[in-house]
Amino acid sequence: MIAEETLVQDLQHPETRSQAFEVLVDTYKQRLYWHIRRIVLNHDDADDVLQNTFIKVYKNIKGFKGESKLYSWMYRIATNEALTLLKSNAKKLDVGSGELQDRMLGNLKADVYFEGDAIQLKLQKAMATLPEKQKLVFNMKYFEELKYTEISEILETSVGGLKASYHLAVKKIEAYLKEEA
């Protein structure tokens, strides 16, 4: 795999830019896609957000100073884009975030790109009960298997706070799954 610093330099150079961008997309497309999909739940929205994320990265890479790591910067953009999409969806439908979550879960049952059974649907319902931040932390730790230090850099939150969020999220999901069994 190409070193991150070299990749950033190549992205900032007009001659190497397009090739480096292809490498960037290839390296991160799956990770970022799943990160986004877990927030927006359906494939079409995830596809939109993923494309917008890479376009933002492409347009703003010149200003990237390397204060954070490239991947955490991209994760941050992806997270913001995904949450912004949810907010604008809620606005369009004129509903609150709770109602939006309910609708998203309802749509999941008919989604051709969701093959989950009753247990997996229940898992999504359990996750929908979590506050936004806890859900993010849970997804990133449990499914994406990121380290606390990495999540800390992406979400700009202390490791201690993340551990507490994760712990609470696991407890709540377990309790939900047990209760509704």
Binding site: Y113, F114, E115, G116, Q120, P131, E174, L177
Partner: protein, 170 residues
Amino acid sequence: MKDFNNKNPFKTPEGYFEDFSRGLMKRLAEKDTDIPRNEGFIVPDAYFEGIHKDILQKLEAEKTKVIPLHRYKKYYFAAASIAAVALVAFMLNRNLSQEITFEDIANIDIENYFEDNSLDLSTYEIAEVVPVDELEIGDILSKELNEDMILNYLDNNTENFEELNMEYDE
């Protein structure tokens, strides 16, 4: 090795202690939660193969939408300066004493801001920015706190006692 069983009549199956560590490690490696690992999400066939092309197309489409403004640039400067002069004149004519202060912002506006801008801070995050060392408990509480009140609160609000004494491993 010291024999810990020289004074009692109990016996263990042969090779029990040799297998014990192995069995324990195996159990520890097993999943420690019932939360499923598979979420059931799938993607269309060959989606990831085509994504780079899709992004380039979108980028290209955005580029072609840009209309050059340079031709009219000098008029913009002129128009902007006239507008600026007019604005300054207008502002000066208004009552200068009516400066907006923080107190003028209705509380509801501030509440709306917090509502709309997802400042989802956890207690841990708040604790990080509030200088707790300099705070006295009296600064935030109007009533004095006594032990009974604390015990009552914990009694009514703690579902899981373990949460009060959390210890984590990475």
